[in-house]
Symmetry: C2
Subunit: 329 residues, 2 copies
């Protein structure tokens, strides 16, 4: 702690306050302390230090996004079940697309001597893992996306194939002006966009870049606003492919508000999709299987499996329910 | 491990297989091993043994139900956020209403020397906590329900008040034959049923026990079947109060299938409730606040707060959206 105080240029009591979450510390100061902590690799967990080298803590770390996103909830559920079955406890941490938070969370988990890590990486550079994990060499499995700047096992869904499938389905129902909503610079939605472009190209349809809408944030609200703009434009699309569950909700809200007759295919299935006024057509994968595969792979690695890194891609499939079968006028 | 093998009457290698989840072991044998483990309090986590008495592991255990239930996801999200802010990591465990699983999970978490525990207890007797937790006296906060046979802080929502509110709303819209679907013997739904009875009594309506439907399991499928039976009975209700989110989905599915004109009020809000053909009226509470309160209380206890046990009850409120305002014919 003394090192941290020195590096951050604060009193020892301030470090203690930040670390233990007691009392009040100015946000700026707290950030400086936290930065110092991660820089010098100070790890709070004293227990961890007492672990003998080579001993397995029988704990794995799971780092993912907002649990109220059903995608992450399904992933966590499956990973926890597999881990528990193999005798592992799960330390759960959430980062939600903030590289600084992710970096700190990874450091914390490794500091608590997890035997392995399952990470849904954000789009930032992951070269820092070398630094944080250089000493312990804790096995890592990336799930849903690979991480730039880091090599490890990866479990993905077929994003590009799913994107092509969704777009092809709309083309098959006579659509030519198909818009796509893309969450900002995520690996997954980028691949889904690639599938969209391929499907259009293969059908000889030129991509109208005005219909490729990249949002500033991947929220339902942004998607609602973007759909409003698209549908009230002089030359609106007849169909929309929304590349995440949150975006699909926004598209549906906007088209319900405008009472627009528009075809919609979403990526990722969601609860009650079949109960809406027009049941919703989606492309989806088995998300619990994604979590199970990641956990099994990780436990194999912990147990010494040393084959080259795997890249597992789960298939996507289309569920036609109604919104995707609205014919173009 | 040797003690476990002896007690379970199996070979040492069999215990190792069960503990590490490697190889195959007959289910019956595995159960015997697991029983022996929890009986003699063998704890796998060797790290834990090295913790000095009085030292804070800066880890809390969170034991709840199926994460794909948005109620638990919201709870977990909020608890993890509060814990992380205070410097605590969270060990996540799921039990899903199985007393044996819950008991084992609690033992595991305590064995890993968590500094405190947040538990959504099942309806079984919790006297076992005395035994499991007798030595360590780890602070516990129960959330969503109190636990029979154990004293600790509890954070609840106003179940009885919410049940009365839901029923009164239906009475106010002219309903006299109001059915209630109740999940089996859970504390929460029992209180909601009590609120239902009170509201009817206060309005001078006699409770028709044929309209009080206790399901064998709290699933959407059971609720769908029960609603079918109610709506096709000779003297059907004109309104249904469904006491959990899963049950509400079942009621809505059945009434959509039968195209029944029936009023519905659900307990617990859910995503897209406002987007359904008739938007759904619900009674709800702030579930993330439930998780936050529980985590704050627990951290206070870990930090030495020794006032008498608290019982926090969060208010319920009704959101009128459509299904609850269908008038009785």
């Amino acid at each position: 702690m003394r090192d941290v105080a020195e590096r951050a240029g604060v009193a020892l009591v301030t470090v203690s306050r930040v670390v233990n979450g007691i009392g009040t510390v100015r946000e700026e100061t707290a950030e400086r302390v936290n930065a110092a902590i991660s820089e010098i690799g100070y790890q709070r967990n004293e227990i961890a230090r007492s672990l003998r080298p080579g001993q397995n803590s029988m704990t794995i770390g799971l780092l993912l996004g907002d649990l109220t996103n059903p995608f992450y909830a399904s992933l966590a559920k499956a990973a926890v079940e597999v881990a528990a079955h193999a005798g592992y406890a799960v330390l759960l941490s959430t980062a939600d697309e903030d590289p600084k938070v992710e970096r700190r969370a990874v450091g914390e988990l490794i500091g608590r001597r997890v035997a392995g890590l399952i990470i849904v990486p954000d789009q930032g550079d992951h070269a820092f893992l070398q630094e944080v994990n250089g000493h312990d060499q804790v096995p890592i499995v990336f799930v849903d996306r690979p991480a730039t700047g880091a090599e490890a096992d990866v479990v993905l869904v077929d994003n590009e194939g799913g994107g092509r499938m969704a777009t092809q389905h709309l083309i098959d129902h006579g659509h030519r002006r198909i818009a796509i909503l893309v969450a900002p610079s995520y690996y997954t939605t980028g691949r889904r966009l690639r599938g969209y472009r391929k499907a259009l190209r293969q059908s000889g349809i030129e991509v109208d870049e005005a219909l490729v809408v990249t949002l500033r944030r991947g929220t339902t609200e942004e998607a609602t606003a973007a759909t409003h703009a698209l549908l009230t434009s002089p030359h609106p699309p007849t169909a929309i492919f929304s590349t995440t569950g949150f975006l699909t909700e926004g598209v549906l809200r906007a088209s319900q508000q405008l009472q627009a007759r528009i075809a919609v295919v979403g990526f990722d299935d969601f609860k009650l999709a079949d109960m809406l006024p027009t049941p919703v057509t989606v492309v989806t994968s088995d998300i619990e299987e994604l979590g199970r595969r990641a956990a099994h792979l990780l436990i194999d690695r912990i147990n010494g499996e040393d084959s080259p890194f795997h890249r597992t891609v789960l298939p996507s499939r289309l569920i036609a329910r109604g919104t995707g079968e609205t014919a173009a006028r």
